[in-house]
Protein backbone atom coordinates (compact mmCIF):
# COMPACT_ATOMS: atom_id res chain seq x y z
CA UNK A 1 0.00 0.00 0.00
CA UNK A 2 1.23 3.44 -0.84
CA UNK A 3 -0.35 5.67 1.76
CA UNK A 4 1.37 4.54 4.91
CA UNK A 5 -0.32 7.11 7.17
CA UNK A 6 -3.86 5.86 6.40
CA UNK A 7 -3.98 2.98 8.94
CA UNK A 8 -2.78 5.30 11.70
CA UNK A 9 -5.59 7.75 10.98
CA UNK A 10 -8.08 4.88 11.06
CA UNK A 11 -6.80 3.69 14.43
CA UNK A 12 -6.82 7.18 15.96
CA UNK A 13 -10.32 7.02 17.51
CA UNK A 14 -9.55 3.65 19.11
CA UNK A 15 -6.24 4.88 20.47
CA UNK A 16 -7.81 8.05 21.87
CA UNK A 17 -10.48 6.08 23.73
CA UNK A 18 -7.92 3.69 25.19
CA UNK A 19 -5.61 6.51 26.24
CA UNK A 20 -8.36 8.58 27.86
CA UNK A 21 -10.39 5.89 29.60
CA UNK A 22 -7.90 3.06 30.06
CA UNK A 23 -4.25 4.11 30.15
CA UNK A 24 -4.70 7.43 31.96
CA UNK A 25 -6.98 5.98 34.69
CA UNK A 26 -4.62 3.05 35.25
CA UNK A 27 -1.74 5.49 35.67
CA UNK A 28 -3.96 7.37 38.04
CA UNK A 29 -4.53 4.23 40.14
CA UNK A 30 -0.79 3.87 40.62
CA UNK A 31 -0.51 7.56 41.54
CA UNK A 32 -3.45 7.41 43.96
CA UNK A 33 -2.09 4.27 45.59
CA UNK A 34 0.78 6.39 46.88
CA UNK A 35 -1.55 8.94 48.47
CA UNK A 36 -4.03 9.18 51.29
CA UNK A 37 -7.16 10.20 49.50
CA UNK A 38 -10.72 10.23 50.75
CA UNK A 39 -13.13 12.84 49.34
CA UNK A 40 -15.32 12.56 52.44
CA UNK A 41 -12.37 13.26 54.78
CA UNK A 42 -10.30 15.93 52.97
CA UNK A 43 -8.14 16.65 56.05
CA UNK A 44 -6.27 13.34 55.73
CA UNK A 45 -5.41 13.79 52.03
CA UNK A 46 -1.74 13.91 51.15
CA UNK A 47 1.29 11.94 50.06
CA UNK A 48 1.52 8.54 51.71
CA UNK A 49 4.49 6.92 50.03
CA UNK A 50 4.15 3.21 50.55
CA UNK A 51 2.02 3.80 53.65
CA UNK A 52 -1.10 2.32 52.08
CA UNK A 53 0.79 -0.83 51.11
CA UNK A 54 2.22 -1.22 54.60
CA UNK A 55 -1.29 -0.87 56.03
CA UNK A 56 -2.63 -3.48 53.60
CA UNK A 57 -0.09 -6.08 54.70
CA UNK A 58 -1.48 -5.92 58.23
CA UNK A 59 -5.11 -5.68 57.10
CA UNK A 60 -7.04 -8.83 58.02
CA UNK A 61 -9.73 -7.97 55.45
CA UNK A 62 -7.15 -7.97 52.68
CA UNK A 63 -5.73 -11.39 53.55
CA UNK A 64 -9.22 -12.81 53.92
CA UNK A 65 -10.23 -11.37 50.53
CA UNK A 66 -7.11 -12.79 48.90
CA UNK A 67 -7.93 -16.23 50.33
CA UNK A 68 -11.54 -16.01 49.16
CA UNK A 69 -10.39 -14.87 45.70
CA UNK A 70 -8.06 -17.84 45.29
CA UNK A 71 -10.73 -20.27 46.49
CA UNK A 72 -13.29 -18.61 44.21
CA UNK A 73 -11.14 -18.69 41.07
CA UNK A 74 -10.00 -22.29 41.56
CA UNK A 75 -13.48 -23.69 42.25
CA UNK A 76 -15.11 -21.74 39.43
CA UNK A 77 -12.53 -22.46 36.74
CA UNK A 78 -12.14 -26.16 37.58
CA UNK A 79 -15.86 -26.88 37.82
CA UNK A 80 -16.70 -24.82 34.75
CA UNK A 81 -14.02 -26.64 32.77
CA UNK A 82 -15.21 -30.11 33.83
CA UNK A 83 -18.90 -29.44 33.19
CA UNK A 84 -18.17 -27.43 30.05
CA UNK A 85 -16.13 -30.35 28.69
CA UNK A 86 -18.90 -32.82 29.53
CA UNK A 87 -21.51 -30.69 27.75
CA UNK A 88 -19.27 -30.09 24.73
CA UNK A 89 -18.63 -33.86 24.42
CA UNK A 90 -22.35 -34.60 24.48
CA UNK A 91 -23.34 -31.82 22.11
CA UNK A 92 -20.56 -32.79 19.71
CA UNK A 93 -22.34 -36.11 19.05
CA UNK A 94 -24.80 -36.19 16.19
CA UNK A 95 -28.37 -36.79 17.30
CA UNK A 96 -31.89 -35.55 16.73
CA UNK A 97 -32.76 -32.40 18.67
CA UNK A 98 -29.13 -31.38 19.12
CA UNK A 99 -29.78 -27.84 17.87
CA UNK A 100 -32.52 -27.21 20.40
CA UNK A 101 -30.50 -28.63 23.29
CA UNK A 102 -27.52 -26.51 22.27
CA UNK A 103 -29.62 -23.36 22.32
CA UNK A 104 -31.21 -24.21 25.68
CA UNK A 105 -27.96 -25.19 27.37
CA UNK A 106 -26.20 -21.99 26.32
CA UNK A 107 -28.95 -19.52 27.35
CA UNK A 108 -27.25 -18.40 30.61
CA UNK A 109 -24.33 -17.09 28.53
CA UNK A 110 -26.47 -14.05 27.66
CA UNK A 111 -27.46 -13.24 31.24
CA UNK A 112 -25.87 -10.51 33.32
CA UNK A 113 -24.48 -11.00 36.80
CA UNK A 114 -27.26 -8.99 38.41
CA UNK A 115 -29.91 -10.93 36.56
CA UNK A 116 -28.32 -14.25 37.58
CA UNK A 117 -28.29 -12.98 41.15
CA UNK A 118 -32.02 -12.23 41.01
CA UNK A 119 -32.87 -15.63 39.51
CA UNK A 120 -30.84 -17.50 42.11
CA UNK A 121 -32.03 -15.36 45.01
CA UNK A 122 -35.53 -16.57 44.10
CA UNK A 123 -34.21 -20.16 44.33
CA UNK A 124 -32.31 -19.67 47.60
CA UNK A 125 -34.84 -17.37 49.30
CA UNK A 126 -36.14 -18.63 52.64
CA UNK A 127 -39.75 -17.55 52.22
CA UNK A 128 -40.38 -17.97 48.48
CA UNK A 129 -37.38 -20.08 47.42
CA UNK A 130 -37.69 -23.36 45.56
CA UNK A 131 -34.60 -25.10 46.93
CA UNK A 132 -35.68 -25.43 50.57
CA UNK A 133 -39.11 -26.52 49.43
CA UNK A 134 -37.79 -29.34 47.23
CA UNK A 135 -35.12 -30.49 49.68
CA UNK A 136 -37.48 -30.68 52.65
CA UNK A 137 -40.16 -32.37 50.57
CA UNK A 138 -37.78 -35.08 49.39
CA UNK A 139 -36.43 -35.43 52.93
CA UNK A 140 -32.87 -34.46 52.05
CA UNK A 141 -32.85 -31.75 54.73
CA UNK A 142 -34.98 -31.57 57.86
CA UNK A 143 -35.40 -27.82 58.24
CA UNK A 144 -35.02 -24.94 55.71
CA UNK A 145 -31.52 -23.53 55.26
CA UNK A 146 -30.52 -19.88 54.93
CA UNK A 147 -28.44 -20.50 51.81
CA UNK A 148 -27.11 -16.95 51.53
CA UNK A 149 -26.88 -16.01 55.22
CA UNK A 150 -25.35 -19.19 56.68
CA UNK A 151 -21.58 -18.69 56.67
CA UNK A 152 -21.00 -22.39 56.04
CA UNK A 153 -23.28 -22.56 52.99
CA UNK A 154 -22.97 -19.17 51.33
CA UNK A 155 -19.76 -19.84 49.38
CA UNK A 156 -21.13 -23.00 47.77
CA UNK A 157 -24.41 -21.24 46.97
CA UNK A 158 -22.72 -18.33 45.21
CA UNK A 159 -20.30 -20.67 43.39
CA UNK A 160 -23.29 -22.63 42.05
CA UNK A 161 -25.02 -19.48 40.78
CA UNK A 162 -21.84 -18.35 39.01
CA UNK A 163 -21.35 -21.85 37.55
CA UNK A 164 -24.80 -21.62 36.04
CA UNK A 165 -23.73 -18.55 34.10
CA UNK A 166 -20.13 -19.58 33.44
CA UNK A 167 -20.38 -23.15 32.11
CA UNK A 168 -21.73 -22.16 28.66
CA UNK A 169 -18.56 -20.16 27.94
CA UNK A 170 -16.40 -23.27 28.31
CA UNK A 171 -18.91 -25.49 26.54
CA UNK A 172 -19.07 -23.09 23.57
CA UNK A 173 -15.29 -22.62 23.27
CA UNK A 174 -14.51 -26.34 23.65
CA UNK A 175 -17.27 -27.35 21.24
CA UNK A 176 -15.92 -24.89 18.66
CA UNK A 177 -12.44 -26.40 19.04
CA UNK A 178 -13.75 -30.00 18.92
CA UNK A 179 -15.41 -29.36 15.60
CA UNK A 180 -12.06 -28.63 14.02
CA UNK A 181 -10.67 -32.05 15.00
CA UNK A 182 -10.69 -34.19 11.82
CA UNK A 183 -13.23 -37.02 11.93
CA UNK A 184 -10.68 -39.40 10.35
CA UNK A 185 -8.58 -39.44 13.50
CA UNK A 186 -11.45 -41.01 15.44
CA UNK A 187 -12.30 -43.41 12.62
CA UNK A 188 -8.71 -44.61 12.49
CA UNK A 189 -8.62 -45.06 16.25
CA UNK A 190 -11.91 -46.93 16.06
CA UNK A 191 -10.57 -49.32 13.45
CA UNK A 192 -7.56 -49.96 15.67
CA UNK A 193 -10.01 -51.01 18.39
CA UNK A 194 -9.37 -48.08 20.69
CA UNK A 195 -12.06 -47.42 23.30
CA UNK A 196 -13.99 -44.15 23.50
CA UNK A 197 -12.17 -43.21 26.69
CA UNK A 198 -8.81 -43.77 25.01
CA UNK A 199 -9.89 -41.72 21.98
CA UNK A 200 -10.78 -38.90 24.33
CA UNK A 201 -7.48 -39.18 26.19
CA UNK A 202 -5.20 -39.47 23.16
CA UNK A 203 -7.05 -37.54 20.44
CA UNK A 204 -9.53 -35.07 21.92
CA UNK A 205 -7.56 -33.76 24.89
CA UNK A 206 -4.27 -33.11 23.06
CA UNK A 207 -6.12 -31.35 20.22
CA UNK A 208 -7.87 -29.13 22.73
CA UNK A 209 -4.71 -28.22 24.65
CA UNK A 210 -4.34 -24.67 23.34
CA UNK A 211 -8.05 -23.93 23.78
CA UNK A 212 -8.02 -25.28 27.33
CA UNK A 213 -4.97 -23.23 28.30
CA UNK A 214 -6.39 -20.05 26.80
CA UNK A 215 -9.94 -20.43 28.14
CA UNK A 216 -8.83 -21.37 31.66
CA UNK A 217 -6.46 -18.39 31.75
CA UNK A 218 -9.10 -15.98 30.46
CA UNK A 219 -11.67 -17.38 32.86
CA UNK A 220 -9.30 -17.19 35.84
CA UNK A 221 -8.71 -13.51 35.15
CA UNK A 222 -12.40 -12.97 34.49
CA UNK A 223 -13.51 -14.71 37.69
CA UNK A 224 -10.83 -12.91 39.70
CA UNK A 225 -12.28 -9.63 38.41
CA UNK A 226 -15.95 -10.53 38.56
CA UNK A 227 -18.03 -8.29 40.78
CA UNK A 228 -21.64 -8.06 39.56
CA UNK A 229 -23.00 -11.39 40.76
CA UNK A 230 -21.42 -11.54 44.22
CA UNK A 231 -22.09 -7.85 44.78
CA UNK A 232 -25.81 -8.24 44.11
CA UNK A 233 -26.27 -11.67 45.67
CA UNK A 234 -24.45 -11.23 49.00
CA UNK A 235 -22.54 -7.94 48.88
CA UNK A 236 -19.54 -9.95 50.08
CA UNK A 237 -21.16 -11.19 53.27
CA UNK A 238 -21.85 -12.80 55.62
CA UNK A 239 -18.71 -12.01 57.67
CA UNK A 240 -16.60 -11.63 54.53
CA UNK A 241 -17.18 -15.23 53.40
CA UNK A 242 -17.74 -14.08 49.81
CA UNK A 243 -15.61 -10.91 49.82
CA UNK A 244 -13.13 -11.38 46.98
CA UNK A 245 -10.44 -8.79 46.28
CA UNK A 246 -12.60 -7.23 43.56
CA UNK A 247 -15.54 -6.95 45.95
CA UNK A 248 -13.23 -5.39 48.54
CA UNK A 249 -12.09 -2.81 45.98
CA UNK A 250 -15.67 -2.12 44.86
CA UNK A 251 -16.71 -1.66 48.48
CA UNK A 252 -13.86 0.79 49.10
CA UNK A 253 -14.97 2.70 45.99
CA UNK A 254 -18.72 2.72 46.60
CA UNK A 255 -19.10 2.58 50.39
CA UNK A 256 -16.07 3.83 52.33
CA UNK A 257 -14.79 6.32 49.68
CA UNK A 258 -11.30 5.36 50.83
CA UNK A 259 -9.87 5.96 47.35
CA UNK A 260 -6.16 5.96 48.15
CA UNK A 261 -6.34 2.69 50.04
CA UNK A 262 -8.68 1.14 47.44
CA UNK A 263 -6.23 2.11 44.69
CA UNK A 264 -3.38 0.45 46.55
CA UNK A 265 -5.37 -2.81 46.71
CA UNK A 266 -6.07 -2.38 42.99
CA UNK A 267 -2.35 -2.12 42.26
CA UNK A 268 -1.72 -5.32 44.21
CA UNK A 269 -4.53 -7.05 42.26
CA UNK A 270 -2.92 -5.96 39.02
CA UNK A 271 0.44 -7.35 40.04
CA UNK A 272 -1.08 -10.65 41.19
CA UNK A 273 -2.88 -11.06 37.85
CA UNK A 274 0.15 -10.12 35.77
CA UNK A 275 2.43 -12.52 37.63
CA UNK A 276 -0.19 -15.28 37.50
CA UNK A 277 -0.69 -14.86 33.74
CA UNK A 278 3.06 -14.95 33.08
CA UNK A 279 3.68 -18.05 35.19
CA UNK A 280 0.64 -19.79 33.71
CA UNK A 281 1.64 -19.18 30.11
CA UNK A 282 5.23 -20.16 30.79
CA UNK A 283 4.37 -23.31 32.74
CA UNK A 284 1.91 -24.49 30.09
CA UNK A 285 4.34 -23.61 27.27
CA UNK A 286 1.55 -21.90 25.39
CA UNK A 287 2.14 -21.49 21.66
CA UNK A 288 5.15 -23.79 21.50
CA UNK A 289 4.94 -26.90 19.38
CA UNK A 290 6.29 -30.05 20.93
Amino acid sequence: MKKTYVPYILLAPAVCLVLAFMVYPIGNVFYLSLRHYNPTKPWINGFAGFGNFVDILSDKDFWNALKVSVKWVISEVLLQLVFGMLIALILNQKFKGRGIFRALTFIPWAMSGVLTAVLWSLIYNQSVGLLNNILTKTGLIKSPNAWLANSGLVFGSVVTAELWRGIPFFAISLLAAMQSIPEELYEAANVDGSSKWKSFLYITLPSLKETIILTTLLRSVWEFNSVDLIYSLTGGGPVGKTTTLSILIANHATKTSNYGYGSAISVISFLILAIFAMIYLKASRFGTEE
Partner: protein, 277 residues
Amino acid sequence: MKTKLSDKIFRRWLPLVLINIFVLIPIWWTLVTSLKQEGDILKKPVRYIPDPATLENYMRAWVNCRFDRYFFNSMRIAVVSVFFIVVIAIITGYALSRFQFQGKNGFMLMLLCIQFIPHAVLLIPLFQIFNTMGLIGKPLSVILVCITFQFPFNSILIRGFIGGIPYTLEEAAQIDGCSWLMAVWKVVIPMLIPGIVTTAAFAFIGVWNEFLFSMMFLNDANNYTIPIGLKMMQGEYNISYGALAAGAIIAMSIPVALFAYLQKYLVTGMGAGAVKG
Protein backbone atom coordinates in the same frame (compact mmCIF):
# COMPACT_ATOMS: atom_id res chain seq x y z
CA MET B 1 -21.12 -47.22 13.71
CA LYS B 2 -24.01 -48.08 16.03
CA THR B 3 -24.30 -46.73 19.52
CA LYS B 4 -25.65 -49.09 22.17
CA LEU B 5 -28.89 -48.14 23.89
CA SER B 6 -27.32 -48.04 27.35
CA ASP B 7 -24.61 -45.76 25.96
CA LYS B 8 -27.25 -43.49 24.51
CA ILE B 9 -28.99 -43.23 27.85
CA PHE B 10 -26.02 -42.82 30.18
CA ARG B 11 -23.63 -40.95 27.93
CA ARG B 12 -26.12 -38.68 26.24
CA TRP B 13 -29.67 -38.29 27.44
CA LEU B 14 -29.31 -38.60 31.21
CA PRO B 15 -26.54 -35.99 31.61
CA LEU B 16 -28.15 -33.79 28.97
CA VAL B 17 -31.48 -33.79 30.77
CA LEU B 18 -29.88 -33.18 34.18
CA ILE B 19 -27.87 -30.24 32.83
CA ASN B 20 -30.92 -28.72 31.20
CA ILE B 21 -32.92 -29.07 34.40
CA PHE B 22 -30.13 -27.15 36.16
CA VAL B 23 -30.10 -24.48 33.45
CA LEU B 24 -33.84 -24.05 33.08
CA ILE B 25 -35.12 -24.30 36.68
CA PRO B 26 -34.07 -20.78 37.77
CA ILE B 27 -35.59 -19.27 34.62
CA TRP B 28 -38.77 -21.31 34.92
CA TRP B 29 -39.16 -20.53 38.64
CA THR B 30 -38.73 -16.80 37.99
CA LEU B 31 -41.34 -16.98 35.25
CA VAL B 32 -43.73 -18.87 37.55
CA THR B 33 -43.19 -16.40 40.38
CA SER B 34 -43.76 -13.45 38.06
CA LEU B 35 -47.12 -14.86 36.95
CA LYS B 36 -48.47 -15.70 40.41
CA GLN B 37 -50.85 -13.50 42.34
CA GLU B 38 -49.09 -11.56 45.09
CA GLY B 39 -50.81 -13.59 47.84
CA ASP B 40 -49.99 -16.95 46.21
CA ILE B 41 -46.23 -16.35 46.14
CA LEU B 42 -45.81 -16.78 49.90
CA LYS B 43 -48.64 -19.28 50.38
CA LYS B 44 -47.95 -22.84 51.53
CA PRO B 45 -48.01 -25.43 50.08
CA VAL B 46 -45.88 -24.02 47.28
CA ARG B 47 -47.51 -24.04 43.83
CA TYR B 48 -45.26 -25.06 40.96
CA ILE B 49 -47.44 -23.50 38.30
CA PRO B 50 -49.22 -20.14 38.60
CA ASP B 51 -52.91 -20.79 39.27
CA PRO B 52 -54.54 -18.44 38.52
CA ALA B 53 -51.96 -16.74 36.29
CA THR B 54 -51.92 -12.96 36.25
CA LEU B 55 -49.96 -10.16 34.63
CA GLU B 56 -50.41 -7.79 37.58
CA ASN B 57 -46.76 -8.19 38.64
CA TYR B 58 -45.66 -6.97 35.22
CA MET B 59 -47.93 -3.95 35.58
CA ARG B 60 -46.50 -3.30 39.04
CA ALA B 61 -42.89 -3.62 37.87
CA TRP B 62 -43.49 -1.54 34.76
CA VAL B 63 -45.49 1.29 36.37
CA ASN B 64 -44.95 1.33 40.15
CA CYS B 65 -41.35 0.13 40.19
CA ARG B 66 -40.53 2.42 37.23
CA PHE B 67 -39.27 -0.26 34.89
CA ASP B 68 -40.77 1.80 32.05
CA ARG B 69 -38.20 4.48 32.88
CA TYR B 70 -35.34 2.00 33.42
CA PHE B 71 -36.13 0.21 30.18
CA PHE B 72 -36.04 3.49 28.28
CA ASN B 73 -32.75 4.47 29.99
CA SER B 74 -31.14 1.10 29.23
CA MET B 75 -32.34 1.29 25.64
CA ARG B 76 -30.99 4.80 25.18
CA ILE B 77 -27.55 3.93 26.56
CA ALA B 78 -27.44 0.68 24.58
CA VAL B 79 -28.50 2.17 21.23
CA VAL B 80 -26.08 5.09 21.38
CA SER B 81 -23.19 2.92 22.64
CA VAL B 82 -23.78 0.14 20.11
CA PHE B 83 -23.87 2.64 17.25
CA PHE B 84 -20.46 4.04 18.18
CA ILE B 85 -19.02 0.62 19.04
CA VAL B 86 -19.96 -0.67 15.59
CA VAL B 87 -18.61 2.41 13.80
CA ILE B 88 -15.29 2.31 15.67
CA ALA B 89 -15.08 -1.48 15.28
CA ILE B 90 -15.54 -1.21 11.51
CA ILE B 91 -12.88 1.51 11.17
CA THR B 92 -10.44 -0.33 13.43
CA GLY B 93 -11.22 -3.75 11.96
CA TYR B 94 -10.77 -2.38 8.44
CA ALA B 95 -7.35 -0.96 9.27
CA LEU B 96 -6.27 -4.24 10.87
CA SER B 97 -7.58 -6.36 8.03
CA ARG B 98 -6.47 -4.37 4.97
CA PHE B 99 -3.18 -2.74 5.97
CA GLN B 100 0.27 -3.88 6.99
CA PHE B 101 1.90 -1.28 9.18
CA GLN B 102 4.40 -0.89 11.95
CA GLY B 103 2.97 -1.44 15.41
CA LYS B 104 0.10 -3.60 14.15
CA ASN B 105 0.98 -6.57 16.35
CA GLY B 106 1.44 -4.32 19.35
CA PHE B 107 -1.97 -2.79 18.74
CA MET B 108 -3.62 -6.21 18.45
CA LEU B 109 -1.94 -7.27 21.67
CA MET B 110 -3.29 -4.16 23.37
CA LEU B 111 -6.84 -4.97 22.22
CA LEU B 112 -6.46 -8.44 23.77
CA CYS B 113 -4.95 -7.13 27.00
CA ILE B 114 -7.90 -4.79 27.54
CA GLN B 115 -9.97 -7.91 28.27
CA PHE B 116 -7.72 -8.56 31.24
CA ILE B 117 -8.18 -5.22 32.99
CA PRO B 118 -10.28 -5.56 36.13
CA HIS B 119 -13.25 -3.23 35.94
CA ALA B 120 -13.33 -2.70 39.69
CA VAL B 121 -9.81 -1.24 39.49
CA LEU B 122 -11.00 1.49 37.12
CA LEU B 123 -13.97 2.50 39.28
CA ILE B 124 -12.15 5.12 41.33
CA PRO B 125 -10.06 6.85 38.62
CA LEU B 126 -12.89 6.86 36.10
CA PHE B 127 -15.21 8.33 38.70
CA GLN B 128 -12.69 11.13 39.19
CA ILE B 129 -12.32 11.74 35.44
CA PHE B 130 -16.06 11.95 34.89
CA ASN B 131 -16.42 14.07 38.00
CA THR B 132 -13.99 16.61 36.53
CA MET B 133 -15.82 16.46 33.20
CA GLY B 134 -19.11 17.07 35.02
CA LEU B 135 -20.56 13.82 33.65
CA ILE B 136 -21.35 12.01 36.91
CA GLY B 137 -25.06 11.24 37.00
CA LYS B 138 -25.31 11.58 33.22
CA PRO B 139 -25.78 8.57 30.91
CA LEU B 140 -22.92 9.82 28.71
CA SER B 141 -20.40 8.63 31.35
CA VAL B 142 -21.69 5.06 31.08
CA ILE B 143 -21.85 5.30 27.29
CA LEU B 144 -18.17 6.33 27.08
CA VAL B 145 -17.12 3.48 29.38
CA CYS B 146 -19.19 0.94 27.46
CA ILE B 147 -17.71 2.03 24.13
CA THR B 148 -14.18 1.77 25.50
CA PHE B 149 -14.68 -1.68 27.00
CA GLN B 150 -16.66 -3.18 24.13
CA PHE B 151 -14.95 -1.95 20.98
CA PRO B 152 -11.75 -4.06 21.26
CA PHE B 153 -13.45 -7.47 21.12
CA ASN B 154 -15.84 -6.29 18.42
CA SER B 155 -13.01 -4.84 16.31
CA ILE B 156 -11.33 -8.24 16.30
CA LEU B 157 -14.66 -9.87 15.45
CA ILE B 158 -15.40 -7.55 12.54
CA ARG B 159 -11.82 -7.79 11.29
CA GLY B 160 -12.54 -11.47 10.60
CA PHE B 161 -15.67 -10.59 8.62
CA ILE B 162 -13.81 -7.95 6.55
CA GLY B 163 -11.04 -10.46 5.88
CA GLY B 164 -13.67 -12.66 4.26
CA ILE B 165 -14.51 -9.99 1.66
CA PRO B 166 -12.08 -10.22 -1.30
CA TYR B 167 -9.94 -7.10 -1.69
CA THR B 168 -10.13 -7.48 -5.47
CA LEU B 169 -13.76 -6.32 -5.36
CA GLU B 170 -12.68 -3.05 -3.78
CA GLU B 171 -9.90 -2.68 -6.33
CA ALA B 172 -12.28 -3.36 -9.19
CA ALA B 173 -14.60 -0.60 -7.98
CA GLN B 174 -11.67 1.79 -7.76
CA ILE B 175 -10.57 0.92 -11.30
CA ASP B 176 -14.13 1.67 -12.41
CA GLY B 177 -13.65 5.20 -11.08
CA CYS B 178 -14.81 4.98 -7.48
CA SER B 179 -12.77 6.78 -4.86
CA TRP B 180 -11.40 4.61 -2.06
CA LEU B 181 -14.07 5.74 0.39
CA MET B 182 -16.83 5.22 -2.17
CA ALA B 183 -15.50 1.72 -2.87
CA VAL B 184 -15.62 0.89 0.83
CA TRP B 185 -19.11 2.36 1.19
CA LYS B 186 -20.57 0.74 -1.95
CA VAL B 187 -18.76 -2.62 -1.89
CA VAL B 188 -17.51 -3.50 1.58
CA ILE B 189 -20.33 -2.20 3.79
CA PRO B 190 -23.19 -3.99 1.96
CA MET B 191 -21.29 -7.27 2.12
CA LEU B 192 -20.50 -6.65 5.76
CA ILE B 193 -24.13 -6.47 6.91
CA PRO B 194 -24.16 -9.96 8.54
CA GLY B 195 -20.94 -9.06 10.36
CA ILE B 196 -22.37 -5.73 11.48
CA VAL B 197 -25.54 -7.35 12.80
CA THR B 198 -23.55 -9.99 14.69
CA THR B 199 -21.22 -7.39 16.17
CA ALA B 200 -24.12 -5.17 17.14
CA ALA B 201 -25.85 -8.09 18.87
CA PHE B 202 -22.72 -8.98 20.87
CA ALA B 203 -22.21 -5.32 21.81
CA PHE B 204 -25.86 -4.86 22.71
CA ILE B 205 -25.81 -7.77 25.17
CA GLY B 206 -22.62 -6.41 26.73
CA VAL B 207 -23.94 -2.88 27.16
CA TRP B 208 -27.42 -3.99 28.27
CA ASN B 209 -25.85 -6.05 31.07
CA GLU B 210 -23.42 -3.36 32.30
CA PHE B 211 -23.78 -2.91 36.04
CA LEU B 212 -20.75 -1.76 37.99
CA PHE B 213 -20.09 1.60 36.32
CA SER B 214 -23.79 2.45 36.02
CA MET B 215 -24.07 1.75 39.74
CA MET B 216 -21.19 4.09 40.52
CA PHE B 217 -21.94 6.90 38.04
CA LEU B 218 -25.73 7.12 37.80
CA ASN B 219 -26.80 8.39 41.20
CA ASP B 220 -30.13 9.83 40.10
CA ALA B 221 -33.07 7.36 40.11
CA ASN B 222 -34.37 8.98 36.91
CA ASN B 223 -31.30 7.71 35.08
CA TYR B 224 -31.14 4.17 36.52
CA THR B 225 -30.77 1.35 34.03
CA ILE B 226 -32.49 -2.03 34.37
CA PRO B 227 -29.64 -3.79 36.26
CA ILE B 228 -29.55 -0.96 38.80
CA GLY B 229 -33.33 -1.07 39.10
CA LEU B 230 -33.15 -4.81 39.82
CA LYS B 231 -30.41 -4.34 42.38
CA MET B 232 -32.35 -1.58 44.13
CA MET B 233 -35.50 -3.70 44.22
CA GLN B 234 -33.57 -6.61 45.73
CA GLY B 235 -32.32 -4.39 48.51
CA GLU B 236 -35.73 -3.07 49.48
CA TYR B 237 -36.95 -3.93 52.94
CA ASN B 238 -40.50 -4.60 51.83
CA ILE B 239 -39.57 -6.58 48.77
CA SER B 240 -42.27 -7.59 46.29
CA TYR B 241 -41.05 -10.92 44.90
CA GLY B 242 -43.63 -10.96 42.13
CA ALA B 243 -42.56 -7.57 40.79
CA LEU B 244 -38.87 -8.51 41.18
CA ALA B 245 -39.43 -11.69 39.15
CA ALA B 246 -41.39 -9.74 36.52
CA GLY B 247 -38.56 -7.19 36.36
CA ALA B 248 -36.07 -10.01 35.83
CA ILE B 249 -38.14 -11.44 32.97
CA ILE B 250 -38.32 -7.96 31.38
CA ALA B 251 -34.55 -7.60 31.83
CA MET B 252 -33.77 -10.94 30.19
CA SER B 253 -36.19 -10.57 27.28
CA ILE B 254 -33.77 -8.55 25.14
CA PRO B 255 -30.54 -10.54 25.66
CA VAL B 256 -32.37 -13.86 25.26
CA ALA B 257 -33.93 -12.68 21.98
CA LEU B 258 -30.51 -11.54 20.72
CA PHE B 259 -29.01 -14.82 21.92
CA ALA B 260 -31.56 -16.76 19.85
CA TYR B 261 -30.22 -14.93 16.81
CA LEU B 262 -26.54 -15.20 17.80
CA GLN B 263 -26.43 -18.81 18.92
CA LYS B 264 -25.81 -20.18 15.42
CA TYR B 265 -22.67 -18.01 15.25
CA LEU B 266 -21.54 -18.86 18.77
CA VAL B 267 -19.97 -22.22 18.02
CA THR B 268 -18.96 -21.81 14.39
CA GLY B 269 -17.70 -18.26 14.68
CA MET B 270 -16.35 -18.24 18.19
CA GLY B 271 -13.03 -19.97 17.58
CA ALA B 272 -11.23 -16.64 17.61
CA GLY B 273 -13.84 -15.03 19.82
CA ALA B 274 -12.93 -17.09 22.86
CA VAL B 275 -11.73 -13.80 24.28
CA LYS B 276 -15.24 -12.77 25.20
CA GLY B 277 -16.47 -13.51 28.71
